[in-house]
Amino acid sequence: MSGVPLSWWLVLATALFGIGALGVVTRRNALVVLMSLELMLNGVNVAFLAFARARGDSLAHAAVFIVMAVAAAEVAVGLALAIALFRHGGNVDLDRARRMKG
């Protein structure tokens, strides 16, 4: 790892973030969207750790742990919402959640 330059790690982080973002925007399944959100957060975690590594301090490690904890909580809420969506129509298709507009 020490041989890999910072910029590569940042590219990886941005790529993970971007893939997650693409998933959020394009996938119709609420569960996939949820996973994509988690992917974005993990991309951020990679960026945190890369910076921490490059700077040689451990401040960001704490941040990453907190982010992981928060992500877990977010998943819990997201899954609950997906279940609620499922209860109202038998699937978890985001297309159904567009009754309010304008």
Binding site: L10, A13, F17, G20, A21, V24, A30, V33, L37, M40, L41, G43, V44, A47, F48, A50, F51, A52, A54, R55, G56, D57, S58, L59, A60, A62, A63, I66, V67, V70, A73, E74, V77, G78, A80, L81, A82, A84, L85, R87, H88, G89, L94, A97, R98, R99, M100, K101, G102
Partner: protein, 601 residues
């Protein structure tokens, strides 16, 4: 112990959540006394608010050893925390009788509300960006769940889901921005980042990209929270679908917290004097968002037919005015525009009152809040109509209500920041307020001048005949909101002073950085910009830097004063020939004593 005392507001808020959860578990499933939980929540949050305004202003943040570098408590935080907590308490009171009518489980609702307020406190008081993220998530996750808390309603679920997806996205943006800032400065606390950016400002282009990208990411995330265009799309849908007390909480507390953090972040991190020379400075980005937000908010408000959506677009438009206020800092002091906190206060009071009235119309599971539902309100429920009148006129910025004083002071302060160039934007904002008048008056038109259409059978409720919920706690909440709107409009002095002192504390001073650097034992990194422990060198350097900046600021101010004096002198010179020379003093024929006495000749 001192630390724990200073943390008391947060602890009380969190404790309220735990207490309510416990009380909910202890009571039976269909216990009719569950309305009590809302009163407990409101009381707990109100106590926390009182603690915040008594303990926090003037508390020297860096004396906290236990939580050093995690939380800042000062007048700014106290003001916004109290605002957030009061809104939370109001929402809890509004919910007391709203929840049973809508079939929402009160225990979970009130618990989530208390925890959300706790998160909002941490969000507002955060001294470092990870705490800020944590606070944001605690606040937001609870609100996602609250928005969807009416499980029988497809609309509520849709609202929760939309808010969740977009909120998650915004959180990811925020976090990415935080990561970049960390990468650029090696620091996670606000003051350290500010110092790091100021120190690195002299270095060349490449080093600036990271903070710039971070700025954009943070702006997007905070823009989402305060519903700035084009990150506002969720607002009307979520406000419409969520249970109305939750909407009141979102429009009041979440927006106030968002603005608190947005201003503190932007002003602390990005207002460094050397932060110029970019094609688009942070300020320009803010201005663009502000103008776009007020225009789009008001234009779309005009075409709405649903009261909650109208108020949602109204809240977007208000975000636009507030962004303009955050943007327009005085170049000399770089402090927050002192009209902003007061404006938020007036806006929150009015908007909570207005949503509160709407929430009382939601009897028997009613979700339709289109304008005709208001028809005949003034006849059936004159008190509710009066509260709505006060709050809506305050939102519209009509004297003698708080919204008017808020707008007046905000625009005055925007003008004062730079009279020559800001006048355009003030004119734009005033024109926007005129457009907004149209939809505000439409609400009042329906409430006061329309009779409900006579329909038969099941449509009776839809046509506005459904009685409003009779709820003493909710009436107390909207009554306070309406009285506050009046108070702020008629006797604004006290709150203006509070607003001014809050605004003056908005920027986290870099000298705090030196003090906060003390616990940097966490990260004694080799490239840390503020090497720890707080060596005399650092302090001296910081002191020298501050002294220099202060001197520069004083010089600027002196120059401005001098210029003004010159102008005044010129004015009086030019005016002299036009005025009549003063008359020679002459004895009055009638010496008139001031009161009661007599005079003889």
């Amino acid at each position: 112990m001192n630390d724990l005392l200073l943390c008391a507001p947060i602890l009380v808020a969190a404790g309220t959540g735990i207490l309510v959860m416990a009380l909910d578990l202890l009571s039976g499933r269909d216990d009719p006394r569950k309305g009590f939980l809302g009163v407990v929540t409101a009381a707990g949050l109100a106590i926390a608010a009182v603690l915040a305004v008594t303990l926090w202003p003037g508390a020297p943040a860096f004396e906290m050893s236990f939580l050093k570098g995690v939380l800042i408590v000062d007048g700014f935080v106290a003001f916004f925390s109290a605002l957030v907590l009061a809104t939370g308490a109001a929402a809890a009171l509004l919910a007391v009788d709203h929840l049973p009518e809508q079939g929402i489980e009160p225990g979970a609702f009130q618990t989530l509300l208390a925890f959300s307020a706790t998160g909002a406190l941490a969000f507002v008081a955060a001294a470092d960006l990870v705490t800020m993220f944590l606070g944001l998530e605690v606040m937001s996750l609870a609100v996602y769940a609250l928005a969807a808390s009416k499980r029988s309603s497809g609309f509520a679920t849709e609202a929760g889901l939309k808010y969740f997806v977009l909120g998650g996205l915004a959180s990811a943006f925020l976090l990415f921005g935080v990561a970049f800032l960390y990468g650029a400065t090696g620091s996670l606390d606000l003051a350290g980042i500010a110092a790091g950016l100021a120190g690195g400002a002299s270095s060349a282009g490449a080093d600036r990209v990271l903070p710039q990208v971070a700025l954009v990411l943070l702006l997007v995330a905070m823009g989402f929270k305060v519903a700035a265009v084009p990150f506002h799309f969720w607002t009307p849908d979520v406000y419409e679908g969520a249970p109305t007390p939750v909407t009141a909480y979102m429009a009041g507390a979440v927006k106030a917290a968002g603005f608190a953090v947005l201003s503190r972040l932007i002003l602390t991190v990005y207002q460094a004097p050397s932060w110029g020379g970019l094609p688009l400075s942070p300020a320009d980005a803010l201005l663009g968002l502000a103008v776009l937000t007020m225009v789009v908010g008001n234009v779309l408000g005009v075409v709405q037919d649903d009261v909650k959506r109208i108020l949602a677009y109204s809240s977007i438009a208000h975000a636009g005015y507030l962004l303009l206020g955050v943007w327009a800092t005085d170049p000399a002091t770089r402090a927050l525009n002192d009209g902003v906190p007061f404006y938020l206060l007036a806006y929150v009071a009015a908007t909570v009152g207005a949503f509160g009235v709407v929430s009382l119309l939601g009897a028997r599971g009613e979700e339709d809040m289109r304008l005709p539902r208001l028809a005949g309100l003034s006849k059936r429920h004159p008190v509710l109509a009066a509260v709505l009148l006060v709050c809506v006129l305050s939102l519209a910025g009509i004297p003698p209500f708080g919204g008017f004083m808020g707008k007046f002071n905000l625009f005055k302060a925007v003008l004062a920041a730079d009279p020559a160039s800001n006048v355009t934007w003030v004119v734009v904002a005033v024109l926007n307020s005129l457009v907004a008048l149209y939809y505000y008056l439409r609400i009042l038109l329906y409430a006061y001048f329309r009779e409900p259409e006579v329909v038969s059978g099941d449509d009776v409720a839809a046509a506005g005949h459904a009685p409003a919920i009779r709820s003493a706690p909710a009436w107390a909440a909207i009554g306070v909101a309406a009285l506050a709107s009046l108070y702020l409009g008629i006797l604004p002095g006290r709150m203006m002073a509070a607003s001014g002192s809050a605004a003056s504390a908005a920027v986290v001073r870099p000298d705090l950085s030196a003090a906060l650097a003390a616990p940097a034992a966490l990260a004694p990194g080799k490239s840390s910009p503020a090497p720890a422990p707080a060596s005399p060198t650092v302090s001296r350097r910081a002191a020298v830097r501050d002294a220099g900046r202060d001197a520069a600021r004083d010089a600027t101010r002196n120059d401005r004063d001098a210029a003004r004096n010159d102008r005044d002198a010129a004015h009086s010179r030019s005016a002299a020939p036009g005025t009549r020379p003063p008359r020679p003093p002459r004895p009055s024929r009638f010496a008139a004593p001031p009161a009661g006495g007599g005079s003889g000749r």
